[in-house]
Each structure stands twice: as C-alpha cells, then as structure tokens.
C-alpha cells in the first residue's frame, strides 16, 4: 500500500528526530551562551583572532575576521559547521535506505512483499527528508531559546534564525542522496559508508582549500563542494537562499531518481 514504507520508516525512527534534534539544538544554543556581555568583549575577541595567520583563519571559514565583531557573526560562524554534523546523519540515513537492509539480508523478505523497488527508495528517502526537517526545526528552536538567554542583544529576527536552521536541510539531503546512489551501486554497506565518508571529507577539504586560495579558479572549483552551499553568516543575514535551495533539491531529486534506476536494474545481494 502506498505510503506504508514511508510511515513505517518514520514510526521506527521518530526517536532519532528527538535525539538528533536535541543535540543540534544544544549545538545551536551554545554560541549564544558563550557570547560576552558587551561589545568591548567582542572587539577584544576579534583583536585576539587577528593575531593568527590569515590563511589558517580562512581555512576554518574566517576569511573576514571582522564578521566576528557582532553577536550575529559569532553565531553565524558557529552554525557554519553544522553541516559537518548533519552530514553524519545524512550518511547514516542514506545507508538505511537500501544498504543496511540489504547487508543484513532483510531485503529478500522486504522485496518478496508487493513493494516496487523504486517506491522503497523514494518513500524511505522522503521519510528521512521529513526527519531532517524535524531535526532542523529543533535546531532553530535552540537558536530561538539562545537568543532569549544570550547576555547581549543578538540583532536577528526569529524568522532568520529559523531560516538559517532550515537552510542546512537541502545540502544535508544532497549528502544523503549521494550515499543512496553509492549504496544502490556498490551494494555493501561498509563500502557505501566509506565512499560517502570520503565524499564528505573531500568536499570539506575542497571548501577549506578554496577559502585559503581565494582565487577565481579556486572559487570555481569550490562549487563542487557541498559545503560551499551552506554559509551560516549568509543564512542569518538573508535567510534561505531560494535559488540555491531549489538547485540542491533538484540535484537531490535527480540523484534519488537515478538510484531507483540503479537499484531496479541489479540483483539483490545475498
């Protein structure tokens, strides 16, 4: 019956939304708590940072240290790294779409029931997409709470805070889609996890190197990194970048569609 896999996936994993959500909410909350209680403190922090090598700062996403002179800058810088955390969720979710059950030998039972292979992939991917949105909402709530309890006024609207949290959903789901594609091609979970892990790390490194180089070529190459599509500073300043989000969701749809074709064509591993 249509939707059965989707709802079953959600039923089995709803606790994951809470666990991951609370984790990310705390992650999003902590920069607010650590904010100094005056602008003097912020300026002191910038002066301290300026003592470090500029290339090193650029590699960790601080090409412009002056951005840290505001509370919003500090929060933006911190949530810049949230994609590195959600990438872990994305890889696990991607593996759970086909690899986990295939590797555990469960797929023979599941596919002996009247479920088309394409539906299995799509319904599970949709369920994990919904879960990711739930987790991002938790993260947004963490930032809303942080804004309330911060020792200094954080000049950003609640809407922008929620948008910044939701902005992490499309790139996270692209990482999940990459894992799904790999899983449907290589079959084995360990191999799929390794390839997806390499993709995430290489993507992060590519983004870091491009930030250091800062040239036109490096910037062009960095567009191949999924990490270049999530910028905490930008997200807090202008909310969800709709064209980028649309592009990533289109890419996600193409990859999931491709994975249904790969999965349909091949033998199920024993």
């Amino acid at each position: 019956m249509t939707g059965s896999v989707f709802f079953e996936t959600l039923r089995r994993n709803w606790r994951q939304i809470i666990y991951w959500g609370i984790g990310l909410a705390l992650y999003a909350l902590y920069p607010f708590v650590l904010l100094p209680d005056s602008t003097d403190g912020l300026e002191g922090m910038v002066e301290l940072m300026e003592m470090f090598d500029s290339n090193m700062l650029a590699a960790v996403g601080l090409a412009d240290v002056s951005a840290m002179a505001t509370p919003v800058g500090i929060v933006g810088y911190t949530i810049n790294f949230v994609l590195l955390v959600t990438a872990v969720f994305a890889v696990i979710a991607g593996l759970n779409v086909t690899s986990a059950e295939e590797d555990a030998g469960i797929m023979d039972v599941l596919l002996s029931w009247p479920i088309p292979r394409w539906r299995l992939v799509i319904e599970k991917a949709l369920a994990y997409g919904v879960m990711m949105i739930g987790i991002a909402i938790f993260m947004g709530l963490g930032m809303l709470i942080g804004k309330q309890i911060a020792p200094i006024e954080v000049e950003v609207t609640n809407g922008l805070l929620l948008s910044a949290a939701l902005s992490v959903v499309p790139p996270t789901l692209v990482i999940m889609a990459v894992t799904i594609v790999v899983s449907t091609v290589v079959r084995r979970r360990a191999m799929a996890a390794a390839v997806s892990g390499v993709f995430v790390v290489a993507s992060f490194m590519l983004d870091a190197v491009a930030n250091v180089a800062g040239t036109g070529f490096a910037e062009s190459v960095s567009r191949f990194s999924i990490f270049s599509y999530y910028d905490g500073f930008e997200a807090l300043a202008s909310g969800v970048d709709v064209p980028v989000a649309a592009m990533l969701i289109s890419l996600l749809a193409v990859m999931v569609a491709a994975s249904t074709v790969f999965f349909h064509r091949r033998d199920i591993a024993v």
Partner: protein, 317 residues
C-alpha cells in the same frame, strides 16, 4: 509461456560473474509445478535451489531463460506475483530491534490487509509468542515467524526455502500438517530442502538438482519404488558365502557384517539370490527399501561411497 502450470521455467540460467571467472549457479532449468501440489525442490547446498527461488521472486535476474508464476512473467509482472506468493527465505533475517507483532503489522500494511485472527491461529499452532523483539528469539522461533509471514496472507502459491531448518520435531509435524492443509485448499507449495525425510513425508513430486542442473522430476512414490533394495542374510556359517553371492546376477555391494551376516544390494528379481542361498542355512532374511536419500544419491554418480558408508553405519548399529 502457457499458464496451466503455477510455476514454470524455461531454460532458466544464472551465471554469476563474467568471462573466465563466471560461475554457473543454474543451467537451463525447465521446470513445471502444477496447481495444488506440494513440490519438493531437492539438492545439496550450492545446487542452485535458492538461486532458482530468488529468480522466481525477481530478487535476482536470470542470465538467460525465463520464469513465470501463475502465468505472470517473473520479472515484468513481479509486483503482481509478489501479491499472490508467500515466501520464506532460506536465511531469514529480520529487523533485530522490532517486535514480531510490529513486523506482522508492517507486512499487513504493505499488503493492505491483515487478518489478525489467522495470524494468532498460526502463532498458536507454532506455539509462537508475537510480543518479543527479534533479537530475543531463538533460531527456531525466528523460523516460526518467517513461516507466519509467508502464510498469513493465504496466497495461492507458497515458496519456502529450507522451511524446517531449526524447527523441533513437533513443530516439523505441525508444519507438515499445515502444508497438507494448504494443498487440500487447492493452493500450491514449492518447497526447497536438503532434508530428504521432509520431502519424503509431504511432497507429491520432487525435483532433484545437482550442480545447477536438473537431474530428475518424479512422483515421490515412484522415486521410492526404484528397482533395488538392500538385503541382509544371516547364515549359520557365513564362510565363503560372500564370494559366492557376488557372482549372482543383480547382486552388488556385498559385504560381511557382524561375522554372521551378508549385506548386499539387489537389483531386479529375488529368485537368483534365493537359489544361490538355498545351499546354506539361512537364519534370517531382511529386506529394506532404499531411502529417498539413497535414491537421491544415485543421481550423484561420483558419491556412491556416501550411500554405502551410511548403510554400513546403520547396520553396524
């Protein structure tokens, strides 16, 4: 392909790998299973039984040839077939952290129907507790759940891969009775096994598979009435008789056991053997029909020693 048979394959072949490294798991299988029969699919591990079943359910694709169930193509009409076929895999793996009842409900949701009364009836019959998590069940209990999942939708065809492995004798008896009931309802059971007694007990027909090739398809009764039997003659004085009996037409595999008996394999009629033995004082004469295992192993020309060794052990005990 004609649909008069419930399961039908034509030159069904599966080769794993390519080129020189390719391994033919199943070669040119032509098989027909009739409606309303319990069909045994017999062969040792690696003979190609599971490969056949996985192709029937479209889990793997044939290298060549075709298969159909209920007149529907195994690949193109796979979804319709899976709606009408219950399946138990040889190696049953399910979600470790899920309760059996939740897995049953999940299957019910996928099929769009769940008859809990029938599920409970099956569970009661197999003395199975549906409330535990999978990780807490023994191998035998997992098998019981697999059988419940395979049977709970009351499909027209049931395909079971090594169904009784891990079941205790009482449950095997329950299983045998259940299979007969399914047959009596006009449904079809396709049952793979390497447990010959299981096949002998419940199957109407049996196919024997060896190294990916179909060696025979026969009625079980016909297989058990092959033209040889084991004869044991106990003599008052056995000296020199073994050599004498070896010359009798139809007699082979002659051996002396326990110092007073001669065991031999007799093909054909008894008369030549009785005439040869009449000059000696015969204390006892026992005749034993070959078991299905022995008949089965006669298809394995390179493994007759197994038969003889098993038989020798049996007599020695």
């Amino acid at each position: 392909m004609a649909s008069e048979h419930v399961i039908e394959t034509s030159r069904l072949t599966k080769v794993y790998g390519r080129g020189d490294k390719g391994f033919t798991a199943l070669r040119d299988l032509d098989l027909q299973v009739r409606r309303g029969e319990i069909f045994g699919y017999l062969g040792p591990n690696g003979a190609g039984k599971t490969t056949t079943i996985r192709m029937l359910l479209d889990l793997i694709r044939p290298t060549r040839g075709q298969a159909s169930i209920l007149g529907l193509d195994a690949h193109h009409d796979s979804l319709a077939i899976r709606r009408r076929v219950g399946f138990l895999p040889g190696e049953l793996n399910l979600w470790r952290n899920e309760r059996a009842i939740d897995i049953v409900k999940y299957q019910g949701k996928v099929f769009g129907s769940l008859d809990m009364a029938y599920v409970n009836q099956l569970a009661e019959r197999f003395q199975f507790d549906l409330t535990k998590k999978m990780r807490d069940y023994s191998t035998g209990n997992k098998r019981k759940l697999g059988l419940i999942l395979a049977l709970m939708q009351r499909q027209e065809v049931v395909i079971l891969d090594e169904p009784t492995s891990g079941l205790d004798p009482l449950m095997q008896q329950n299983f045998n009775n259940l299979m007969r009931e399914i047959r009596d309802e006009g449904r079809t059971v396709f049952l793979s096994s390497h447990v010959l007694s299981e096949v002998q007990a419940i199957c109407d027909r049996v196919a024997v598979l060896r190294h990916g090739e179909l060696k025979a398809v026969e009625q079980v009764e016909k297989l058990t009435h092959v033209d040889f039997r084991w004869v044991t003659l106990k003599f008052r004085d056995v000296a020199g008789i073994q050599h004498h009996l070896e010359t009798v037409p139809g007699v082979s595999d002659v051996s002396t056991i326990n110092g007073d008996s001669v065991r031999l394999k007799l093909n054909g009629e008894f008369d030549p053997l009785l005439r040869a033995a009449v000059d000696h004082y015969v204390v006892d004469l026992r005749v034993q029909e070959p078991t299905l295992e022995e008949i089965f192993l006669t298809f394995y020309d390179d493994e007759p020693a197994v038969v003889n060794n098993n038989r020798a052990k049996e007599y020695a005990s």
